[in-house]
């Protein structure tokens, strides 16, 4: 039975609250009948009135309070209404939640999940459309993960909540909420890479014949990346495998190494919805380059992302500023 990303996450939240009394939801406007700005928390406050807390508009304290809950044995899940507002909680995430376990010499755990709907293509303009997750990547002690339409968004949320004892920033895509979760894609073989260092897997869709190159993405870019590889196959005869990360930070080094060692083709393209400078693709491509070089191979690497200016409000300007399937396809095609 088909399920949307929104349904998958909502069902996971219901399941988590049902199975574990330590799970507490906290955020702005998350009570029924409103159920959150994107309706992700729908139904929760009706079933679990004592464990769903609606808050003042106070992102810093919401994350701080949730960190305190986590330190004292609860399993808080925060909703930040728009991912852009994560900056308001930056001190809490970086100087508090991410630090406690290590600086207290492993005497404590901070099992905190901060859900943040991110991204553009909704006409919300410069301050409600960004993909700012790159600013939280590379912070020791902080996990950044992103569900996609490929895989199981709800399962990822369950892993973030129940299997990860550190703080997790969970990057949801506004535009993917209404899309259906995809289990398999015709013409591709699906491989899941995982290792004991984390519960978060990487998905690799490979053609049955050796590919000409690899396209790497996460979260919101996944539908566009899928469209690009299908276009390149059908219209250009190029076989491009697709890698979809769910763990963005810390870098899933063993997954990257495995893929870089076994992938075919020498073209590597990375697609992200943020501007690419100092971004996620810089980290992944640097690791791919190192592995490729160790193996005596060469790589042509290209990155696709948003324009380096704020996201415009006007729909046409917004569309022009953001990476599309055809942008990705063109960049890959230009490598051949």
């Amino acid at each position: 039975m088909s399920v949307t990303v929104l349904q998958s996450i909502n069902q996971a939240l219901h399941g988590l609250m049902e199975s574990d009394a330590r799970v507490v939801m906290i955020g702005e406007d998350i009570l029924d009948p409103y159920g959150g700005a994107f309706k992700v928390t729908k139904g929760l406050s009706t079933r679990f009135p004592d464990r769903v807390l609606t808050t003042p508009i106070s992102e810093a304290a919401i994350v701080g309070v949730a960190t305190g809950l986590a330190l004292r044995g609860q399993r808080p899940i925060v909703e930040i209404m728009f991912g852009d507002f994560l900056f308001l909680a930056g001190d809490q995430l970086v100087n508090h939640a991410a630090k406690f376990q290590w600086m207290y010499n492993d005497q404590v755990r901070v099992p905190l999940v901060v859900r943040a709907p991110m991204g553009a293509r909704r006409g919300y303009g410069p301050t409600h459309s960004q993909s700012i997750e790159k600013h939280f990547m590379g912070v020791p002690g902080l996990w950044v993960v992103a569900p996609s339409i490929l895989g199981d968004p709800g399962a990822l949320l369950r892993q973030a909540t129940a299997e990860c004892d550190g703080p997790v920033v969970f990057i949801e895509s506004k535009t993917c909420y209404g899309r259906e979760v995809v289990d398999s894609v015709p013409g591709f073989t699906r491989t899941t890479l995982s290792d004991p260092s984390s519960p978060f897997a990487t998905t690799w869709l490979r053609h049955e014949s050796p590919a000409d190159g690899q396209l790497w993405c996460y979260g919101a870019m996944t539908p566009h990346a899928l469209e690009a590889v299908q276009h390149l196959k059908h219209n250009e005869g190029l076989l491009i495998d697709l890698v979809v990360s769910s763990q963005l930070s810390p870098s899933p080094v063993s997954h990257i190494r495995t893929i870089a060692e076994t992938a075919t083709g020498s073209v590597w393209c990375y697609a992200e919805e943020a501007s690419v400078d100092f971004g996620w693709s810089a980290e992944v491509s640097a690791q791919v380059a190192a592995t490729v070089q160790e193996n005596g191979k060469t790589a042509t690497q290209v990155r696709v992302g948003a324009a380096s200016h704020p996201i415009p409000s006007g729909r046409l300007q917004e569309a022009a500023a953001l990476p599309s399937a055809s942008d990705i396809a063109m960049r890959i095609l230009n490598c051949f």
Binding site: A60, A61, G64, T67, G68, L71, R72, Q74, D91
Partner: protein, 300 residues
Amino acid sequence: MIVLERCERSASAEQRYELLAGIRLFEQSLLDLFSAGVLTGTTHTCLGQETVAVGVLSAIDRPRDIVFSNHRGHGHFLAYCGEVERLYLEIMGKPGGVCGGRGGSQHLCFDNFYSNGVQGGIVPVATGMALAEQQKGTGAVAVVFLGDGTLGEGVIYEAFNMASLWKLPIVFVIEHNGYAQSTPSTMQIAGEVADRPRAFGISVMECQSTSAAVIHQHAASAIDAARAGGGPQALVCYTYRLGPHSKGDDTRSATELKAAWERDPLIAARAEAGAAADAIDHRVAARIADARQSALEAAS
């Protein structure tokens, strides 16, 4: 491990003085060790403010209550658990320290005691801890220490608001020492300190006395009220920092400091200890010296 005796609610004047003197000697020895180049990094001593630490933390229920302290937290830590040798080791960056040498002076964790060195951010975290204890029904109270300098951080008002909305068992202790680092309160606080928590419907007590016994009475009633379901409480303690903000960074006038040292709360505390004071001084000096020496000799 060498420890100082912590004070319970029933503590005598002698016991309070012994702990106050221990905190004082410990911190003075830290400043000496920095001057001698034995310690590196930074530290923030609470010279002159020890009575707030001892007064407030002798009122907690040690097994269950939570304490969240700040950058100026040695006095709070020692009043909470007395673990003076482990604290030396921590500040020396040694594996036997409270946090294995990872946290140092400003980042301590021991049982239900926590501290962090960034201003303001600990207040919502402590508020969340109080919420957790309320949800679990443990009856525990969280006590969080702020300074007058911290009042400039906006996040504390978000936390005051939530604590009051949800009637959380938390006590906000504001140690008003008159300075935010080098800036006098008159240049950095508009309006009245007590009006800030009061604006959120939080009960506020003000304590002008620097006597540990008087501070204790106020703290005990605040903690009892929070535990009884009365919601958050604030206690503003007017005090004075006799030492520098950190190490050698004191720009206050010699006249001001001289007058302040003449009002040192430990003078009165020592007088209250009466005939036992000399013996206490000797005992504490020996204990601090032993803890310091033992920590200095411990493996790095």
